[in-house]
Symmetry: C2
DNA sequence: GCTCGATTCAAACGATTGTTTGAAAACATC
DNA sequence: GATGTTTTCAAACAATCGTTTGAATCGAGC
């Protein structure tokens, strides 16, 4: 295990012609190279189907480096997630706080609009989607898939990572939609998070069929700008009364 | 390979006290026992993390039976999906056709409402959710997770399975929302499918936090009845004009 | 120059994976 | 009851997995 603090840079005396793998040469220290390669490969093949040998070869480091720096494959996966997820959720909370302070100062009784709350959720994700330099776009897909992964250690990890954010945003939506029961708000927040992560997961089977313009398929920015109004309208949908329930699924 | 047609029943002369595995004894012929066990275990652990030995032990059959009856692990997975997915999508198309014939006969110019089209998508899923006898509820979760699986053979399979259904429903939504550009309709249909499969996937990390009543967490019927109005409102959301785009994500 | 902790490396570990094999058993047909 | 096909079975296959080991190499501090 590394006591952190100091870490050696990769060997400088590399043979000039050497090509470590087919992938583009990674840069930075060993830990970052592993994280970068793992982020891309986990996104591409999933957790179980990605071997440590594939990751270390792509990163140009020794196989044992993963266990040395991260402890295990599972801990590596968590490190890949937490590197970007933690700052993103911090941004979300910070943005929500800024909005609340802003409207509270102006109109006294501050209740944000659904659009504002959704913006606080989406803008930090957009920042990653626009991050062409780093693997931000890769990460959004990886995150979307991690939600659906059945592995207990992944679900537990995400649950902890999102606990604070969910609580804060549920309260905000509750104030924005005071006519809705608290439980209905929880469900609709759940739908919002679901649609967001699913669409960000990206290369699903359905996109192939759905007749999109080619330049839009992998443009997360346009995607989020289409998704946001859709979800805002869903959040504001009138509450389904028990007496109206027969309107739905009458034949089921 | 089996020439199908006739298949032998499992051995009748079992020792009375024998307990093949910890799981409840499966019933039916070998092929069905494998499908049932695989459906539950794939749902629980995912495709990669589920070994054939785990499946065959739970089903009480020999390890080689999978390769004999299905050819490979991948083909087994496809068989598990197609067993319920094919009838469900057939039901959806049939229901949509029935609705269209009904309204065309009454009002001449027949354009279904969003609620009717969503019902045609949801009712067949509800039928599986209510199928307490068989593994219908398991299957919905398995299906939701299969959408997010990066394995190429899964994505290709689902793409083929859904091609006809997507085409038909996109046309229906297009007639129900004539003011929307065709591409916007495609995206919103994509959002609907995403929210549906994500919420059906079930045991995601977020449910743990979201403060649901315990009796509702695993009730797919209540879930769908809450999701349907949410999505119907989203589908009918006014089109986001380019001049209004600044309203969203101004700070991003 | 030497020591000491941090890091890298090649090699091997034991376990598990999906698949194949060939013989034994159960079946259907005559 | 013999024949031929279908199905089951125990055993082994080669490959790959995550992890561990112990020595080699590096950089910094005295």
């Amino acid at each position: 295990m590394p006591n952190s603090a100091l870490r050696r840079l990769p060997r400088v005396t590399e043979p000039a012609v050497e090509k470590i793998s087919d992938k583009v040469a990674e840069t930075g220290d060993t830990k970052s190279r592993i994280l970068d390669a793992a982020e891309e490969l986990f996104m591409e093949h999933g957790f179980e189907a990605t071997s440590l040998r594939l990751i270390t070869t792509a990163a140009g480091v020794n196989l044992a480096a993963v266990n040395y720096h991260f402890g295990s494959k599972e801990e590596l996966f968590q490190a890949v997630l937490t590197r970007r997820l933690d700052p993103m959720n911090q941004d979300r909370l910070q943005l929500l706080t800024a909005y609340e302070a802003d409207t509270a100062g102006k109109s006294g009784k501050g209740a944000l609009t659904c659009e504002q709350i959704i913006s606080a959720m989406f803008i930090p994700a957009l920042k990653l989607a626009r991050d062409h330099e780093q693997g931000g776009k890769n990460f959004l897909r990886l995150l979307g898939r991690a939600y659906a992964d059945p592995a207990p250690f992944i679900r537990e990890f995400l649950s902890n990572q999102y606990a604070e954010m969910i609580t804060r945003f549920r309260a905000a939506f509750g104030r924005a939609l005071p006519h809705l029961p608290r439980e209905e708000v929880s469900w609709r927040l759940h739908f919002v998070m679901g649609a967001l992560s699913y669409t960000l997961a990206g290369t699903d089977a359905l996109k192939m069929i759905a007749q999109f313009h080619p330049e839009e398929v992998n443009n997360d920015e346009l995607l989020l700008k289409r998704l946001a109004p859709f979800l805002a309208a869903g959040l504001r949908a009138p509450l389904q009364q028990a007496s109206d329930a027969h309107q739905w699924f009458t034949e089921a």
